[in-house]
Symmetry: C2
């Protein structure tokens, strides 16, 4: 049988990270490659109680088909939390529950991107967004991140040279770099995209995982009609439910609902019900504090271990939250070569190249600190440093 596939699928590469995760499945491996939350913090008992309660009290409804938009009390909860935590006023009617926030990217690609449309990305950028928009044959232009956020000069130039359908950004504890936009940077970026009339996707999976510094202003607050915001319970409750959301103004929301219905009718409803029950029966802020305290210590240990074992000519970001930091090796040192040496030493990370849209071998890499305890972090960093020395 000779399959005649669509043009759009031929351009999407298989994820390099997927392949790495397979290698790193060996339990004797130390892996800083994953992007997983730490499973030791999953509220097992509380979720078991929430599930039993939902099934006992309203099981027949909770197991039936439901509406595309999502469970209204959950959408109200999210709206209320935005108000309390970030001072953002959004209506529950503008919150669509999605099958993970990854689906938000697929839906946004579907309703906005025609073949060849320009999409502005951060460089390095989130791989899942690159994949999702590749399916719709977007043309990517990436603007480098600097310590305080987007490189404003380069972003201004990019916006002058072309029209962009979308600007995709992760302003808090970005994946892969760990960088957060400063308050000033946010205002400058907002001014640029406001002038350009470009729709911005503000993806905020890690925003609640802050262990240092202070909360910054959300783009959604600055440009409510121009910014589409993505959120998820994967990092603060558990990823296996695949429950995220997308916040969009009326006109966009309506298109998203049509696309969502064609994509999977609605997000798994029993999961929405269990998560909601968990949220109202427990102190989620206390739970998040436990997670961020641990991640903060693990990040501290990683930074210290890098200081101890690595030579001075490498550079790292110093994230104030989230799950990742970003290392830049000396000019000309290949992170893929280092990766291959590290596999022999049974330690893994993600080499930088998949996070760029047009670069092959680079001298950067991503390190995850959320999934390993402090002792393992120290040992893993030591192994990478040894691999780097063994030329």
């Amino acid at each position: 049988m000779n399959y005649n596939f669509s043009d759009r699928i031929s351009g999407v590469p298989r994820s390099f990270i997927r392949e790495i995760l397979k290698v790193a499945a060996d339990p004797s491996f130390i892996s800083f490659a994953g992007g997983l939350p730490n499973k030791d913090f999953f509220p097992l008992k509380e979720i078991e109680e929430a599930a039993a309660k939902v099934l006992k009290n309203d099981g027949k409804t909770a197991l039936q088909y439901s509406i595309t938009e999502g469970y209204l009390p959950l959408r109200k909860y999210i709206a209320n939390r935005y108000k309390i935590k970030k001072g953002i006023s959004v209506s529950p009617e503008h919150i669509l529950i999605t099958s993970g926030s990854q689906q938000g990217l697929d839906l946004m690609g579907k309703i906005f991107i025609n073949e060849g449309d320009n999409v502005l990305l951060e460089e390095p950028g989130y791989l899942g967004a690159i994949q999702a928009f590749s399916i719709f044959k977007a043309k990517f232009i990436a603007v480098p991140l600097v310590e305080e956020g987007m490189d404003i000069e380069l972003m201004r130039n990019a916006l002058l040279k072309a029209r962009f359908k979308l600007f995709y950004a992760v302003p808090n504890f970005q994946n892969p770099s760990g960088i957060s936009y400063s308050e000033e940077n946010r205002h400058e970026v907002a001014r640029l995209i406001s002038n350009a009339g470009t729709v911005m996707i503000e993806d905020d999976p890690y925003g609640e995982l802050r262990f240092l510094g202070t909360e910054k202003t959300s783009f959604k607050k600055m440009l409510p009609n121009q910014v589409i915001m993505l959120g998820t319970f994967s990092k603060i409750v558990a990823p296996a439910f695949r429950i995220g959301w997308i916040v969009a103004p009326d006109e966009v929301f309506e298109k998203l609902v049509i696309a969502k219905q064609a994509a999977d009718l609605h997000t798994n409803y029993i999961g929405q019900r269990i998560i909601y029950q968990y949220l109202i029966d427990n102190d989620i802020d206390a739970h998040i504090s436990k997670i961020t305290e641990a991640y903060g210590k693990q990040r501290e240990t990683m930074v210290k271990a890098i200081g101890t074992y690595f030579p001075d000519d490498i550079n790292i970001t110093l994230p104030e939250g989230g799950m990742f930091l970003w290392m830049t090796l000396p000019q000309g040192v290949s992170s893929i070569t280092l990766f291959n040496k590290c596999i022999e030493k049974k330690v893994a990370f993600v080499p930088g190249s998949p996070f760029y849209t047009n670069k092959g071998d680079v001298n950067t890499l991503r390190l995850n600190f959320s999934c390993s305890d402090e002792k393992t972090i120290e040992e893993g960093i030591k192994r990478i440093a040894e691999a780097l020395k063994s030329k």
Copy 2:
């Protein structure tokens, strides 16, 4: 803010059925409009036990991210069931767990359809497929269903006149018509698409819900490399999990995995684990027998009531399984006009027009018999017959 949406989303209509379901939410309404399984048969207690067991025994893993392909033991279970129940030999490596079988349609559209590609449909056809493929700007050609399946002459002509990327069909207890393809019709259809080299999507959500007649040969068995099969647990366990699957040969499977990863990373994993636990701890065949026995009685009641209350010049299908039957009113009688009269009488169905790709007002309609008890069915049919008489 002036949003510049993609071309693809502008052509997809909001679902008429969604709108009907809103009307029919009033509890004094009798609704034959939905496509829901009967919630009285959801195995509440068993699912509660399965959930508790999974969370107790392997909770940390069950709440974590997982692989795109789906939970391997569940894929093995499905493969084994195909072997036992239908004599179809498929490898678990060719089964991808999807977010409901609706997602299978989205993924197939993504990897196969370029703008303007021809897709062959049944007429009337499943609305969810029309929506999913509309997103990718397919061109639809629909071939009428007759009592024994596809109209072979018209299908042959259609295949002679154009090349088709896909042929989408629901050969068992079709939605909306309730028609099942006869054994002979299947062989003729298989010969036609084999000669044409068209990839067929065999969607089988209702196949296990047979209350009359005998199991027919699956297209997957006849043309294993050419047929992509969709399945779901929505109708035999519960829809709220949104757990379906797609069976595809190697080359197609690999593309589907890439598209799935970009769409939502993976199907909700906790749901996969709970469904699997439920399946291995319970007698699913006994459970399915309970459902089909009830649906069979309800279908019987509906057919009898139609015989009692309706005039002789209407026509209905006599489904051997599934959840729907299809009524053809006398020539020139509008099912939308009838629908509007029925709303006044507090009874609902779905007028035929959304199930056609190019017809406005028609004289056909869909009746669901899975969700109402026998008394309600008799009363509802009586009301529709009265509305029909009240010219």
